[in-house]
Symmetry: C2
Subunit: 457 residues, 2 copies
């Protein structure tokens, strides 16, 4: 019956998702502010149609949080479902094979900004709820609260305030979210670790105006050259980060723990082929999966300065800029690393330039429990729908709100994600498999049933 | 009479120049192509009004060259006047206090893109010619050929072809151009050396698409980080350029020659204050004036890659780019240094990225004679109008066509420029002093008279 409800309705589910993806809900860019709100209104209407109660746009200083609930019986466990309806900026637009906000389904994949991260994954929860309400399989077996925000891609600052102000309303036994992935469509997995984030914009200022490189070249510190030298100095020849005390609190895994993680299937040649590179690269002494999970990293996410137009302009720029972020691992904190970076990056400025470091949002690294009833319910649900038990993995991304939920609400999360690393989230041509979207809708009700069976008082 | 003609007409001269500056003749950007041609048409009309004969737009594969002449007597010496009517791009527009193509006169200075480089200085020659024709001081005492091009800011490639194809038409005894400056309004000077140029755009490619820095960070070579490391390695801790053999052919001046150059007035504190920097910077072992004249340099003129919009995007870019140029000194050649740079920059690419180096135009360094009749005529003209003999200086900029004229036509140049280093050419708020514009118009006829007196057969 569930399979038949899903089969009977899957085209409508996809059509609805595509309608949502047409709304360019880019939170980082103020010019999309109206679209962000339209995306929230769209979600509110779909939750109401599915049968969720008390659906409301909860206003914040920024984008609204869409909240709704379905509270049937105090004896049943309560699950707080988190997701986000905002998306990353879509540029560079010219690299998209189809426009980012004109979704198309091609070769079994939905192509659009937000197809996977996170509209597609959040929408699985809406449709799984609808299915439980209507498919005659026993209804909704848990109390459910939905909290879908619109500022995940810009740091969730207003969500944190909302959570602090609504601790009672948000009380739950577990938080369920789908903003992560599986190893492959035939290798289900559940992420149990996430990296934290410390993100900065740096501004290097040299002369008080752009200068002619002929008249002044050789006699002034060029801010772009200076910025490059500063960035280059942040790694040593072994790929270690040189910021003093950067590794001081890094959790060092035991050989046994590293061996356990190494059991997850990984093919180095396939990894290299998938990104078109002949060699993997990274910190000496660690494998590729370790480099993207249990080790902290530092990457420049953007750089700009001087003349970047067509042709040649012989200028020494007054200023150069970069966006630099670090991924953090357990026992590092965002505040600690942000302070270390600011202090270090300011200190290494060479004579002739000054430096400003402006931190953006940060996020804490997190490890979620694998010995909880909720984790077991999720693993069993996946085993049912994939025919194979999921592998626990440590992910490289950051979902700062997972640590925030733990510290503010005292609630652990289960990261029941269905994306793939190859989905190109945050990149041109982001996509989400139709298989993955439907598999998510199929799996989520099993989680609720398993969890209710284990936890009902 | 000359002074009175200049005084009587100076407002009109300025108005005409301002009209010309309103035409955004940016040669580097194809979208201004129509404006570039309008600027050529404007110049043609003004030359004809002044009494120049045979004025024509000589078509090239790019922008036309405006040619005209006034050939009065084979016994008189012939002067080929060179200038350019194209201008540098004006961005970043937001740093201009008044729009770059809406010229204003403020505090005795004409503010506009091209005010000094080179429309303002080229226009001095048009008005000096008009004045000689009309002021009753004996007429035009030399044969004069005007050749004003529209591609100086993008490398003068078509001018070189034009010169090769028109060697007979362009024969002259000396080339006169005003695309340089004086030390100060009370310290006249004539540039006798110019640096050459080797200019490149580099492209560093890593993964085959932009990647999520959480999922991939730590396991791929980040092209921006790699580019920064490559750029940082191009200088050592003493400010020397590390490209092998880069200095092999550099002309090393004798202590006596350095002492002679050191006689030009220079105030380090004023230099630092003018650019808002607490310390001068540069190659160890050389003074600031030496660093900008007799020493070769390497500067990044622009850099870009990854996310440069508002807010935070956690991306590892597929590609990073920079524009890198070197200023060359006598005995270096543009071809030699271009080859050395390409070879070196490609070789230092770290594992995990590939590099493309695309050379733009280059230019040869040049030293012009100070013992010629033309140089003496120019120096005497300045002494008459400034009341003080000019100092010979070595400039840091590049006017590649000066070397090209010498090699193709066998003709030396005199660099009779009236700009100031502080004119912000190639920068926002470019300007040209009204004093300098009028002083140029006043001085140029003296040059012709002095030169004719010395060289008439």
């Amino acid at each position: 019956m569930a399979a038949s409800y899903l089969a009977d309705n899957q085209q409508r589910f996809l059509d609805e998702l595509l309608d949502w993806l047409r709304i360019p809900s880019v939170s980082a860019d103020p010019k999309f502010q109206g679209d962000v709100r339209r995306a929230a209104d769209f979600l509110k209407a779909r939750l109401e149609e599915a049968g969720v109660n008390n659906v409301a746009l909860c206003e914040t200083a920024g984008n609204p949080i869409v909240y709704g609930d379905y509270l049937t019986d105090p004896a049943l466990p309560t699950v707080l479902v988190y997701g986000h309806y905002d998306v990353q900026p879509a540029d560079p637009y010219e690299l998209w094979q189809s426009p980012p906000f004109e979704p198309v389904i091609k070769d079994g994949k939905i192509y659009a900004r937000g197809a996977c991260d996170d509209k597609g994954q959040a929408y699985m929860h809406v449709k799984a709820f609808e299915m439980m309400m209507r498919d005659g399989q026993g209804g909704v077996p848990c109390n459910i609260k939905f909290m879908i925000e619109g500022e995940e891609e810009i740091g969730s600052n207003n969500l944190a305030l909302f959570v602090q102000a609504n601790k009672e309303k948000l009380q739950a036994d577990v938080i369920l979210l789908s903003d992560t992935g599986i190893i492959a469509n035939d290798v289900p997995s559940i992420e149990v670790g996430l990296r934290g984030l410390s993100y900065h914009e740096v501004e290097v200022t040299g002369p008080n105006r752009d200068l002619h490189s002929g008249l002044y070249g050789g006699a002034v510190q060029n801010p772009i050259n200076a910025l490059c030298a500063m960035i280059a100095s942040l790694h040593d020849e072994n790929g270690h980060i040189t910021i003093p005390a950067f590794y001081a609190n890094v959790e060092e895994l035991t050989p046994a723990a590293r061996a356990e993680l190494a059991k997850a299937p990984f093919n180095e040649a396939e990894f290299e082929a998938s990104i078109g590179l002949p060699v993997a690269y990274g910190e000496a002494g660690y494998s590729t999966p370790e480099r993207t999970s249990i080790r902290p990293t530092l990457d420049v996410n953007g750089i700009w300065g001087g003349y970047t137009g067509e042709g040649a302009k012989t200028v020494i720029a007054s200023k150069a800029f970069a966006k630099i972020s670090m991924r953090l691992v357990p026992n590092q904190t965002s505040d600690e690393i942000t302070a270390l970076f600011q202090e270090h990056f300011t200190r290494i400025a060479p004579a002739g330039v000054t430096v400003q470091v402006r931190p953006h949002h940060g996020g804490e690294p997190v490890v979620t429990p694998t010995d909880s009833a909720a984790y077991r319910a999720a693993a069993a649900a996946m085993e049912t729908t994939f025919g194979k038990a999921p592998v626990p993995t440590r992910g490289g991304g950051s979902i700062p709100i997972v640590a925030m939920f733990k510290s503010e609400l005292g609630i652990d999360s289960v990261l029941l994600g269905f994306g793939l690393d190859s989905d190109a989230i945050h990149s041109p041509n982001e996509h989400f498999g139709v298989f993955n979207f439907l598999k998510g809708i199929e799996t989520i009700p099993h989680f609720y049933r398993n969890y209710a069976a284990a936890e009902t008082r």
